[in-house]
């Protein structure tokens, strides 16, 4: 994982140099600056040094929490990050809980009760996975926010319960697609397990339905379910960009978008790094969970 983090940070940093024009042109964006300022910035950003050395400086700074200074706003990037991060974090956690609880519950229900309920859930999730997050957001905003006025439509609120209220619609919008997808995966895995040999063996031993479903069907289905759930949570990191835009939240996603428009490259780099790092961390956690659930991976197969 560490290697991956390093390499991706390198890629993000190096992408600066992919842009047409010289790096300092990108840093300055549309502003015109005097040669003296240019020289000073060059020195500060080590732009005249060899590339790898520049990367090293940047990396060590980042690890110490120094993300550089935003050219556009003349404030340390880290400051803007600490203002935006809590909102995104709250949103992602809130959404993740919604996804995992609803997705698994609906999927298991659907698998255990074939019939009308199952068909309904299947159709709903079929459509649900075709709904983009921003559409879900807009619809929720229009209906529950504007028409019914149950929830506020703008901003992230202050204090725990107020924040909960403000972030409910965004969290649901963010979770929408993921719940549909996770439900389907859960249902498919459960059904496969229910028709599989271990379940038949368990039934043949006279175990009660509850025990069979819990200890065998669900326990085995957990492996793909956890994997997918983890991927969905990781995917929220990208989705947050959209949802924050729809609901006017001042989180990391919104910060990223404004920096892109402002051509504030340092901030773009910083936010990208954080988001990608979070993505990698979540994926790694999923891998770890996977090995804990499946002893064949843990201990290595083929050891009679």
């Amino acid at each position: 994982m560490v290697v991956l983090l390093l390499v991706t940070s390198f890629v993000i940093y190096a992408s600066l140099f992919l842009a047409p024009g010289s790096p300092d042109a990108l840093l300055f964006g549309a502003h015109t600056v005097s040669p003296a300022v240019r020289a000073a910035v060059n020195r500060q950003y080590h732009l005249n040094d060899p590339f790898l050395q520049q990367y090293w400086y940047w990396l060590t700074d980042v690890l110490r929490g120094n993300f550089g200074t935003s050219i556009t706003y003349r404030t340390p990037v880290a400051l803007r990050l600490t203002a935006a991060a809590p909102v995104t974090a709250f949103l992602v956690v809130y959404s993740s809980i919604l996804i995992i609880v609803s997705g698994v519950a609906l999927g298991v229900l659907s698998a255990l009760r074939p019939g009308k309920l199952d068909t309904f859930i299947m159709t709903a999730t079929n459509i649900g996975t075709a709904v983009p997050t921003f559409v879900a957001g807009l619809v929720l905003l229009a209906f529950f926010g504007v028409k019914l006025n149950w929830f506020p439509v703008y901003g992230a609120g202050a204090g725990f319960f107020d924040r909960l209220r403000h972030l409910t619609l965004p969290a649901v919008a963010l979770a929408f697609w993921a719940v549909a997808y996770l439900t389907r995966v859960t249902r498919t895995s459960m059904r496969e397990e229910l028709q599989g040999d271990p379940v038949m063996t368990a039934r043949s031993r006279g175990l009660s339905r509850r025990v069979v479903v819990q200890r065998h069907a669900f326990r085995n289905a957990l492996i793909p379910i956890v994997t997918v759930a983890g991927l969905q949570v990781a995917g929220l990191i990208a989705g947050t960009v959209i949802v924050e835009q729809v609901f006017g939240l001042n989180g990391l996603g919104e910060l990223l978008l404004t920096s892109v428009q402002d051509k504030d490259f340092a901030t773009v780099q910083a936010v990208s790094l954080i988001l990608v790092a979070a993505f990698i961390v979540v994926n790694t956690l999923v891998d770890i969970a996977y090995t804990m659930l499946d002893p064949r991976i843990r201990l290595g197969a083929n050891q009679p």
Partner: protein, 288 residues
Amino acid sequence: MSVLSILKSRDDQHLLKRIHNRIGTGGMVAGGFMVFLILAATLAPLISPFSPNAIDLLNVSSGSTWLHPLGTDNLGRDILSRLLWGARPSLLGPTLVIGVATIIAVPLAALAGWSGGLIDQIVSRFLDLVFAFPGILLAILAVTLYGPGLYPCSMALALSYMPWIARVTRSEILRERNKPYIKALEVQGVSGFAICVRHLIPNVSATIWSQVTISFGYALIDLAALSFLGLNILPPGADWGVMTNNENAVLQGDLNQVLYPCLLIILSVTSVTYVGKRLSDENTRLLK
């Protein structure tokens, strides 16, 4: 069996009948809908009643009228025309994305799956690296460097979808590779390249097609989202995603202009995904 073999086989059955056997009635409806959309998009210059940017100041934010069957948006532009013209980038974009992604992914996967060993390791690590970047993030980076537009966005997305297609293809190829008929071909001295092109890839094509169609759906969603964020097609351009980027309209309850493009997006993605699922479901139809 290769998906495209439907086109090649010369049974007594009519082509449409063979397709119907493969994807079912639902698949025909979904597929037909997509064909209709593609036609509409292609013929947009001919059939669109108005230019997508033409402003009709007398009819701002109107509902359905004879002149404007689907109404106008809050700048007075005809929604139907914008939908028709907007279909072009909305459908072209995902096609570009998966086209490029597949052209890179399949040979890469074949190379990794066939060679094994160090090459496989290197390719897999490379795929892991690309995997670490969520598509939208990659697109944002691309836009930062190259400015907004269809090409930076679709190329970035193509790169981010490539590992998905590559991974699935690679595992299927690994499975096929160990089958006796491949070993037999090897023993006969057929080159690795020839085996991949003439045998391995056609035999995993069903999986590739299903992954491609599902990815098409996701790419459509992602590109629309990018338009919504102002990174892909920019106003005043017409594109289903950009048409939804009108917060004010929604907040004021003027939903038409946002509703129709959303609907089209959802319907297109559902259709394509449905056809994809039917294509990959080899057991749906008995070939009688």
